[in-house]
Amino acid sequence: MSWHVTGEALSAYASGRIADSDAWSVEMHLTACERCRAALAAEAATDVDLSTAIRESWPGIAANLSSQGRVRRGSRSRELIVLIAAGPAARWAWFTAAVVVLALAAGLGAVTPFGRGQEIPLLGVVAPLLPILGVAASYGSGLDDAHEVIASTPGGGIRLLLLRSASVLAVTLPVGLIAGAVTGYGSPIPWLAASLALILTTLALASVTGVGRAAAIVGAAWVTGLAMSAAGDVTQAAPALLDPDAVPVWLLVSVAAVAVVALRRQAFNYTSLPAHPRLEN
């Protein structure tokens, strides 16, 4: 607010001595300015007749007001809550699915031997996949019902994508950690590093192919890579991709992917969905 009603104008307004045109601009300002409303209330309180009139007529006015409803103050934290809550990944169905899948993977991985005498740690395989699927579901995949309007807004690009990716990680990683701790999976660091690298690679690739396709490509590459490394080396306890030695590589991949996302951030300004000729009317 660049200006405020002067004390003079306020007292003239309170006592009804103000010119009509000035009264309009004062009222216009008052609807938007809490400070001047407070000043006016203080001014009105000094006038005995006026404050009596306000006190007596208020119950009648209040009775005719519709209820205000659940209005929440506009703040940055409220903004984050609304933007994240709108994403499909924030829905209970998705969250439940993630928990169930990880629990199953952890449970099965603890009891089932895979391959030729070697165990593929199922939790380590599945846990890095889930965040990718979550991001794909939350953004630009057509699963977000309002994508068409979102694509026309300034805040619907990379900012929303990163926000939703972070919220997906915030849900899946703790669940994975708990599942690992309960079943005695061992160090979670290899699969955490792989998770990070995979989700960032998905985002980087998404700047070219769109989020849905990027998630499919990265997910398929992960599964194929694991299968190949498991088939290739029977002597190792875990596939090379989930070995502690692979952690620095995953971190390097992550850094490279972040660089790509940063450089290509403008690509997220447009929806990755194809134009819908079927909507054409």
Partner: protein, 256 residues
């Protein structure tokens, strides 16, 4: 609340071509719009929705220039400025069933990067303007089709847009709501550029100050609703004068 600060041409489209693969959806459209309520008429498949999507910065042009609010849409930095001043209601807009009307409109207020302190009041104002104040805290899944559409209109106008794009906004509204909606359009059109794509000729006749008729990817008629009525004086096809004008404009274009 932001006052309209726009001077000059709100929408300036020159020789716009949009192709989907081999199909040409728009074939050299020129369009200049200022404040007021503009109707975009045309048969199904004429390219109305494609034009709306390009203006909404959702679809990209194959060639030609598009500038909104004196910003060239091909410049990324300008795109953000334009999008803040834009309101868009697509023909099929998705909604979140679990959200209340207020949360839904608030969601788009945030996406349009409005000032945090201005959001609650702007949201309530928009909901009130579309006549949903008494349903503001109802979940969207409980609303009828007409109410949903009004919630959609509320999200489009929450930022007091300088350019408001509405694709078939009256679908699902009953006659009385249609009358109220046209009144709302006129109010917004005083200092914003409103573009309404519709196949309902009577919407245009009543609510619009200007009409553009699109056919086969081209703008074949531009003028006032009265001009369109005058264009149909020689034909007898159509139930109302303006419908006759519309038919005549389309026919003349096809003969060419």
């Amino acid at each position: 609340m932001n006052a309209s600060t726009m001077i000059g041409t709100h929408v300036d489209v020159r020789d716009l071509v949009v192709e989907f693969g081999k199909r040409t959806a728009l074939d050299g459209v020129d369009l200049q719009l200022d404040t007021g309520v503009h109707g975009l008429l045309g048969p199904n498949g004429a390219g109305k929705t494609t034009l709306m999507r390009v203006l909404a910065t959702v679809a990209r042009s194959t060639s030609g220039s598009v500038s909104l609010l004196d910003h060239d849409l091909s410049k990324q930095r300008d795109l953000r400025m334009v999008r803040r001043r834009l309101g868009y209601l697509p023909q099929q807009f998705g909604y979140y069933p679990r959200f209340t009307v207020r949360e839904f409109v608030e969601y788009f207020a945030w996406l349009k990067e409005m000032t945090p302190s201005a959001v609650p009041l702007a949201v309530d104002h928009a909901i009130e303007r579309v006549g949903l104040a008494d349903r503001a805290d109802d979940r969207l899944k409980k609303l009828s089709g007409g109410m949903l559409r009004r919630a959609g209109i509320a999200q489009a106008i929450v930022n007091d847009p300088d350019v408001l794009l509405l694709d078939e906004p009256t679908a699902g509204l009953d006659p009385e709501q249609r009358v109220e909606f046209r009144e709302l359009l006129r109010t917004i059109g005083v200092d914003s550029c409103v573009l309404v794509a519709t196949h309902l000729v009577e919407d245009v006749a009543v609510a619009c100050t200007h009409v553009t008729v699109v056919s086969d990817g081209r703008a074949v008629f531009r003028g006032t609703p009265d001009d369109l009525v005058a264009a149909g004086e020689d034909t007898s096809d159509g139930d109302s004068p303006i419908e006759r004008g519309y038919t005549a404009a389309i026919r003349a274009a096809r003969k060419r």
